[in-house]
Subunit: 244 residues, 2 copies
Amino acid sequence: MDKMKIQNNSVTLVDQVEDKLLNYFKEKDMRKGDSIQNEKELAASLGVSRSVLREALSRLKMMGIIETRTRRGMILSEPSILGGMKRVVDPRILSEDSLFDILGFRIMLEIGICSEIFRQITPRDIESLEEIVNVGIVYENNEYAPFSEFAFHTKLYQITGNKTITEFQNIIHPVMTFVKDKFQDFLAPINIQLKKEGRIVTHQDLLRYLKENDEDGYRKALEQHFEVYRLFIRQKEERGRPKK
Amino acid sequence: MDKMKIQNNSVTLVDQVEDKLLNYFKEKDMRKGDSIQNEKELAASLGVSRSVLREALSRLKMMGIIETRTRRGMILSEPSILGGMKRVVDPRILSEDSLFDILGFRIMLEIGICSEIFRQITPRDIESLEEIVNVGIVYENNEYAPFSEFAFHTKLYQITGNKTITEFQNIIHPVMTFVKDKFQDFLAPINIQLKKEGRIVTHQDLLRYLKENDEDGYRKALEQHFEVYRLFIRQKEERGRPKK
DNA sequence: TGGTCATATTTGTCTGACAAATGTACTTCT
DNA sequence: AGAAGTACATTTGTCAGACAAATATGACCA
C-alpha cells in the first residue's frame, strides 16, 4: 500500500497539511463544535501559504469534518461516515465491475440484517410495511415502481436502528435504480424464467414472514427475492472473465 | 436535505466548480485514463480563478477521481468507492454512536455474506483458513491476537470475491481494534459470562462448520461469535439513552 | 437602556509570480 | 545517420498580496 503511494505521485504539501490538520484535531482531542484558529494563524503555524492550507481545508470541508462561515470562523463538525462515498457512488463515474460489487454488497448486507430486524421489529413497523406494500405499485415480473421499492427496503434498514446502515442504503439506492434501468433487457428474461419456475418472492411474501415471525423463512425468501440479481451478476462475471 | 444546505452555508464557488467538473466528465462520457485540460484552460473555460479551480481539483484528487503528475497533466482515474470513507473512519474523529453503528454494520454484513461464502468457497480457501487458525494466537476468553483476528475475517470477506466488501472490511478494521481496546473493561466480563454459559464460538468452531458445509450451523455460530459485541452495544444503548 | 452605524476581522476569490518536474526539440558526438 | 546529451517550454505545485463580502464588535447617539 505504501508502495502505491510512492508510485502514484509524491506526497504533495497539501496532502501533508491535510494529514497534519487531522492529527492536530485528534491530538487536541477536539470535539464537534470546537472552533478552529483562523486561516492566517493556521497557515503561519503550519509554515505553509494560505492557498495550500485552503486546499487542505477545502478537502476537510467536503468531507464534512469542518464547517466554515464568513467571519465566524471554522468549527469542527462530525463527518458523515459515508459522506465521501456519496460523491463517488455515481453510476456514471464507476465502472461496471464496481457497480456489480455494490449490488452484491447491498444484497449481502440486506440478508445480514435479517436477524437484527427480527430482534428490533415492532408492531408499528409491521403496520408501516403493510401500508407501503398496499400502496405500492407492482409491475409484472417482480418489478416494483421505484418509489415502492425504495420505501419498502429503506424501512427494513431503518428497523435495525443503525443510522449508518440506513444512510448506506440511501446512498447506494441510485445505483440499484441505474442497474435495473440499464440492464433491463438482461433482467427481464431472468425474472420471466423465475416466474415460470414459481420462484418469485414479492414484498407481500416477505411481509408475511415478518408477521409470522419466521426468521429462517424470511431469510430464504429474501435470498430468493434477490435471486434475479445474483443470477445476473453471475452471468456478467462469466461473460466478462470467460476463463479463470 | 436541501434545507440543511441552505442553512449550513451558501454554496461556494468551489462547490459549484466541483459539481461542474463532475458533470463535465460525465457528459463527455470520459473514461479512466482520459486526459483533462490543463488548469489554465479549465479555469478560463469555467470562468473562475486558478485557485478556486485548484481547490475543487484538490477535492477530486483526494477522492481519487483524478490523478495529476507534474507536466504530464491530469487524467481521470477510477475512484475507490470507499476511499472517502477511509479518511473519516477514524476512531478519534467519530463519535461513540457512530463507532457502534459501524460495529453493528460490520457484524450484520459478515453475517450477510454467509450464503455467498458457502457458494464460493474452495478447498484452497479452507486450507488458507486452516493455516490462519493454526498459526493464530488465541488469548483467553475468545480474544485473538489482532493479526490473527484480522487475517481470519479478511479471508472470509475475500472468499466472496467482492472487492468492495473486502475493502470495506479493511477500512473498518481499525475501528474494531479501537473499540476492543478502548472498551476492554466492558467486553471482558461479557466474554467471561459467555464462557461460563459455554456460548463461546472460536475461529476453530467456525472453520469446522465451513468444512462440514453446514451453512445454517455456521450462521448461528457466527452470530454467537459476535454475541459479545451485540450485548455490549445493547448495554451502551441502554446507558446512553436511559428512557425512550 | 436600546438602537444604529462605523470598524475590524475573517472567509472567499482573484491575480501574478516563481519553483520543480518533465516532455520536446535541438545540438553534438561517434 | 543514429544516439546521447542539453536547452527550452509547458504544466503542476507553492507562495505572496490584494480586494470583496459578510458579520461580530464596539462606539455613539437618542
